[in-house]
């Protein structure tokens, strides 16, 4: 039998359906009698919402109802959407209502919901909802929003500060006094978005006889959505079921709870019909969460040998209009700054600020790429000032493998110290440099310059907390038909969990991975779940599947031992059977055992075992496990047009033991592409009134096949000691160091012109601007 378990690059179970157009994405769900929703949204970034006249919209043939704040059920009017992760540092916890009550705080905030026979009609009518708006001054930039007298993002707020907190290690003030060199950088990082190819969407079906809601949502986690729904509607556990069908990309923002989901549920109940809402791309630009607006003002102190003594400074983080994830993002950013380097003294003052833009919540990388850009800009600065090799400066500051487990000294948001479990950072960088042929780069660069071409190389290192708790569970069940199913709250959006989790279960149960069906993200399948984000599923759900399948295997042996009148130790699982090791033909099939396991009416259960050939496990990680990686980018910059071409790209990474190498490669390469976009192309432009002006793919550029380089991959494998299979997360490691590496390479290419870069993204216009007229003069 070909090995299909842990470690094998087996083909994906997901693919045959997707390749034939038989996926079931949310917009592919058709229910009898289904109606369609469209939203009237605030055209202003900040406005008082007055009288709403629905008459014209209601008059459109095919319109069933128009819902405004006043029409919502009492419990939904009374509460805002829930703040998912509260924290005492949050000073003002503004959250939106399901529909704007009397104030709209970003352009695109839903104000009314129109329900009609078709989406075409609903969209026609949404434009006819007449809302009296009184525009208010808008906060459009988080740094400006801190100035005295700045417009307030929320009328009546005490200020625009959402939260303020320090992150500290050692004594930074003292360290800076003794330093040989201190360098200061001011860095601006601009927001981008997830821009999954499938926009958001939901179908709600209120079942009157059972007084319960069934919701299909294109989401990264059904269980949290269910919890939010139970709170908003004040319902019992049995009254809401949430299912995530096939999900066309998520990358973070599909893990949030959005007002539209509440509205389709309300509409279904009001009309007694299923109701579907599918976001269009313009709405996606307006109303799906974004990320990455940050201003940094930081200093690094080093000794005469370029060893870091301390880093200190201020981080201004933009949360946008509301704080659905509390301070999760800026906190992750702050704790990611030290990365693979020994930083004995560290102090960062973090302030999270409201503006009148759509809120920022985790997008692939989740606050970490920003931290890496900042830290790696500082490392490049030290190298430049002290005229040292950039790789060498990093090498002399690495945490050594023998220092593992390494306590960074920072307290993470779960209250525990940030402690790296394992990893070999010097080896990782060395492997990347060797593959990128870093040593020979100066020759390549000099040669190119000889013919008027500007090559640059950039290095970046990152350490990433993955496999975050609290848990993700799995139920492994052998049905009396002999068919094996795994239920989990994990919610894939392309990460192939239906394949990888089947591989893990198959190993324990002695079957082929094709014999295991994985049912993800259905609240009726397993009672608790968290969802897929923060590169947590392999570690959490993977470990749970492993533990649950092992229990099922043990139980199968116990029952079979009774049936076959032998000792459990003489048995093994293989070919879908439990069989005698010494005589493999003497066997009981999993089907026979499953039938036995449920007992017979009127008879007592044999052997005192709980009924059913099944087990549920919730792996609860003690703390995060840390993946790491080094990226090396080599670019060519056209100094006349500012165009950047990535000519070579190397990733060395370590995500512990790997379930399916083919799938991990795909995750890493895909992550790099996202980083390429953030580094060079993706800019969400807002005008002075916080009005978004890049709301389509013509104005907001995603990287194309001609922009993303071929990525050379090097794998290192340091197993994590913190879970049974030694795994670490792999979903975000491609993105996190990429922006820093590319920016560093562009700066290196432009070194002859004295250009330094302290921002991301860096677009052609900006490069030409930074070069100034002198550069063009040189080529004239």
């Amino acid at each position: 039998m070909v090995a299909t378990g842990f470690g094998a690059s087996v083909k994906r179970k997901e693919d045959p359906a997707f390749l034939q157009g038989k996926g079931q994405f949310v917009d592919d769900i058709h229910l009898p009698g289904m109606l369609h929703a469209a939203f009237a949204r605030s055209p202003y970034a900040h406005a008082r919402v007055g009288r709403i006249d629905k008459a014209a919209a209601l008059a459109v043939p095919g319109v069933h109802t128009v819902i405004t704040y006043a029409d919502l059920p009492e419990s939904v009017r009374r509460q805002t959407l829930p703040l998912l992760v509260p924290h005492p540092a949050i000073k003002q916890a503004y959250m939106p209502y399901a529909l704007a009550k009397d104030e709209a705080c970003y352009a695109g905030e839903p104000v009314a919901c129109v329900i009609a026979d078709s989406r075409y009609i609903a969209e026609d009518a949404a434009q006819l909802v007449a809302v009296e708006y009184e525009p208010l001054p808008a906060a459009n930039d988080c740094r400006a929003a801190l100035e005295p007298g700045a417009p307030l993002a929320h009328a009546g707020a005490e200020s625009n500060v959402a939260a303020r907190f320090p992150v500290k290690v050692g004594d930074a003030e003292r360290a800076f006094v003794t330093a040989a060199h201190v360098f200061r950088e001011r860095i601006h990082q601009h927001r981008g978005g997830a821009f999954f190819m499938e926009c958001r969407g939901a179908v709600a079906c209120y079942e009157a006889p059972a007084q319960s809601y069934l919701l299909y949502v294109s989401s990264q986690g059904s269980h949290r959505l269910k919890r939010c729904m139970l709170d908003m509607f004040e319902l019992g556990d049995h009254q809401v079921r949430v299912v995530a069908p096939d999900v066309g990309g998520g990358f973070g923002p599909k893990g949030s709870f959005y007002p539209e989901y509440v509205n389709v549920a309300v509409a279904s109940r009001l009309t007694n019909r299923p109701v579907k809402w599918i976001e269009d791309r313009r709405e996606n630009f307006l109303a799906t969460h974004q990320e990455r607006d940050q201003y940094w003002d930081v200093e690094i102190a080093v000794d005469a040998g370029a060893k870091i003594i301390g880093v200190r400074g201020q981080l201004i983080h933009e949360t946008g209009a509301y704080v659905p994830w509390g301070i999760v993002l800026p906190w992750i950013t702050a704790t990611t700054v030290p990365g693979p380097y020994v930083i004995p003294n560290f102090k960062l003052e973090v302030v999270s600020v409201f503006t009148n833009k759509i809120q920022t919540t985790p997008v692939r990388g989740a606050g970490r790429p920003e931290a890496v850009v900042t830290m790696e800009r500082l490392m490049d600065r030290v190298a430049r000032e002290l005229k040292l090799d950039r790789a060498g400066v990093r090498a002399r500051n690495f945490i050594r493998p023998e220092q593992m487990p390494y306590n960074v000294g920072i307290i993470f948001r779960d209250g525990r110290p940030v402690t790296y479990d394992s990893g070999d950072y010097p080896a990782c960088q060395a492997a990347a440099l060797a593959t990128a042929d870093y040593e020979e780069f100066p020759r390549r660069q000099a040669e190119a310059r000889g013919s008027g071409r500007y090559l640059g190389i950039g290095i970046s290192n990152a350490v990433e907390a993955t496999g975050l708790g609290p848990y993700e569970g799995a139920t492994v069940r052998v049905a009396t038909s002999g068919k094996i199913v795994v239920y989990t709250g994990a919610a894939p959006q392309g990460q192939s969990h239906k394949t990888t989790l089947a591989q893990i279960a198959a190993d324990q149960l002695g079957v082929d991975y094709d014999d295991v069906t994985v049912v993800t993200s259905d609240t009726a399948g397993i009672s608790l779940g968290i969802g897929s984000f923060a590169a947590r599923t392999a570690v959490n759900a993977g470990s749970s599947v492993h533990l649950a399948a092992r229990e099922v295997a043990d139980k199968a042996k116990k029952i079979a031992a009774g049936m076959m009148e032998c000792m459990e130790d003489d048995l093994e699982l293989a070919d879908g059977c439990v069989r005698l090791k010494s005589a493999p033909d003497v066997r009981k099939s999993l089907r026979e055992i499953a039938v036995k396991s449920i007992g017979m009416p009127g008879f007592s259960m044999a052997g005192g075992l709980p009924p059913g050939l099944e087990h549920t496990a919730y792996f609860t990680p003690e703390r995060s496990v840390y993946s790491n990686g080094t990226h090396v980018a080599e670019v060519e910059v056209d100094i006349e047009t500012g165009a950047v071409k990535i000519v070579r790209y190397t990733v060395a990474h370590d995500c512990g033991r790997v379930i399916n190498p083919m799938i991990v490669d795909g995750q890493v390469v895909g992550g790099v592409a996202h980083g390429v976009g953030n580094a060079l192309y993706e800019r969400l432009v807002y005008d002075d009134n916080a009005q978004p002006v890049s709301t389509n793919f013509g104005e907001y550029l995603l990287p194309l096949a001609t922009d993303v380089p071929h990525v050379d991959l090097v794998h290192l494998e340091t197993p994590s000691p913190l879970n049974p299979l030694g795994m670490k997360g792999a979903g975000e490691g491609g993105t996190i160091p990429a922006i820093a590496a590319i920016i560093s390479a562009v700066e290196n290419a432009l070194a002859p012109f004295g250009v330094t870069i302290a921002e991301a993204p860096i677009t052609p216009q900006r490069i030409v601007e930074l070069l100034g007229p002198a550069a063009l003069g040189r080529t004239a």
């Binding site: 693919d15 390749l19 034939q20 791309r281 389509n696 096949a705």
Partner: protein, 160 residues
Amino acid sequence: MADTRTITVTVNGRVCSREVETRLTLADFLRHELNLTGTHVGCEHGVCGACTVLVGGVSARACLMLAVQCDGREVATVESLADGDELNPLQQAFRDNHGLQCGFCTPGILMTLTEFLRDHPDPGEAEVRDVLSGNLCRCTGYQAIVAATLDAAKRMRGGA
């Protein structure tokens, strides 16, 4: 209010007659009238390519075409590629090379490549990247798609 016409379109070899609104896009016609939901809609403004189908053998963005424009014409969608459950060489190469993750962009990419490989049986990597630049994929970083395409071309040449 709605202006309607009766149209007859041959979709994947099947003749389909329907009365449709004149403003109905080809993508919505395929997805919601004919229930061929393999054709995906990712932007509705002609950039992402997820909705790509072949009209008269030539690739077209189904979000930018009206159903009535296809009256009397032949349309091929992703559902036409496999023979029963048997994947065709392009689909098989995508599976073997991990050319898809979430699978949302995949139908449009397969249709773009179906036309491309028919006309360019032996392409180089640069040509493949160039033709793919009309389709957005947010998951894969394109590398595996390029590999799958080159692999498919090889199989199709060898198998002919």
